[in-house]
Amino acid sequence: MSKSKNMISTCYTSMECNSCKFIKKRKFSDGDVVFSSNESCSECDGKMLITKIFGVIMD
């Protein structure tokens, strides 16, 4: 995950509620797959759909 010794990439999972469109970002956890929905929305009863999984590089 690291491009060089000084750069560390952290993986995040971004998801969106299919009902209220609430967007949540958290650290990637095993089993996360883009367009899968395993979590419920914390704002309503909707399902959270994973829309993106990406890495952010920090020096």
Binding site: S9, S36, I53, F54, G55, V56
Partner: protein, 374 residues
Amino acid sequence: MEIFGYNLDEFLAWVGEDIDTVMMLIWILPVIIFVFYGQRIQLIISSNEIKKDIGKLDEYTTSTKKDFLNYVKTNLTYKSDPSKKLDSFFDYFTIMPVDMDPNGIISKINHLVRSREDFIRLQINTMFSNLSSVELSKLQNLLEIVTTLQLFHKYTRHLYLTAKKQKNFPLILPLQMMIPFIMEEAVALKDAMPAIKNGQPIGDGIGPMIVGEMMLGTTKESAAVETVWSKTIFEDRDLFLLKAEGPNATVGRPGDGLEKIISIKKPDLIIMIDASLKLEGEDSASIAKGFGAAIGGIGTERFKIEEIATNNQIPILALVVKQSIHEAITLMTKEIADSAKTVKDELYEMIRENTSSGQSVLVIGVGNTIGVSQ
């Protein structure tokens, strides 16, 4: 004052009279050295740099190999110790068909590549129990990384040692030119390991990610090995969607998939979405539009798509997301993931501009779909 039997005072007196002779001696000496030993000096300087890179390649090969075997041992259930058998896979090579008569070579290469894929898949399957298709595809990718790094190391070491053995400077020049590119790819391959092991999307997966989103809520059917298709409607146009079957670490077989869709209905337009290597100076995640089949690899899939499109007189348009080799095979960056919305808007605009109501379009999401379902 005497040094080695010579009188220094006399010498200095002579120098004072004829300084030009000494200056000539000072200049001529390096010239003589460079005439006779210049190539050797250059070889020493160049080979030191190359030696460092070969050392890095060796380190990458060893670490990825160790990483791969650790992953296998900790995450999979194996029947007997897989280390020895996997070790033998690292040395597997592929002999490309004879190209003196290039007629029919594509089908030969296709056969060769697919046979190799099938063989590796079968061998891995026999080694582990309860292996899911996702794990199997991940293993194939990891194996490919280690094998490629090992090949890079062996090949560069061979060129280096041959040049040194024969004290042949010109022989080391091509290696000196190639090594920065080899190292760039080697670093990318090494850095690709964590994303593949964790099943995370890579930059190359932007095409399947866009098409996968369009497939949500549609009925997916198998189009070919590890390839799925579905149908949807956009502004009175039939949209056929094709991508590799996610979340497996695979690029699927879009050529065979296209063949299947053509047998159902001939589309009026093909649009291919893929990741493309950016040129130096270009921005990462920038979008470009063009003509022709946007698909990389060995060339057999592109050949098939081009042939089918030509025979059926279907125009092919391409939408690509620019990225470096490192970005393409490592964890997808935020910039690339964020470009998906813009690419989708461009795609719909392309469909509106190039087709009319009642026509049909085939959209192919090209790339490795690891971590991206549909």
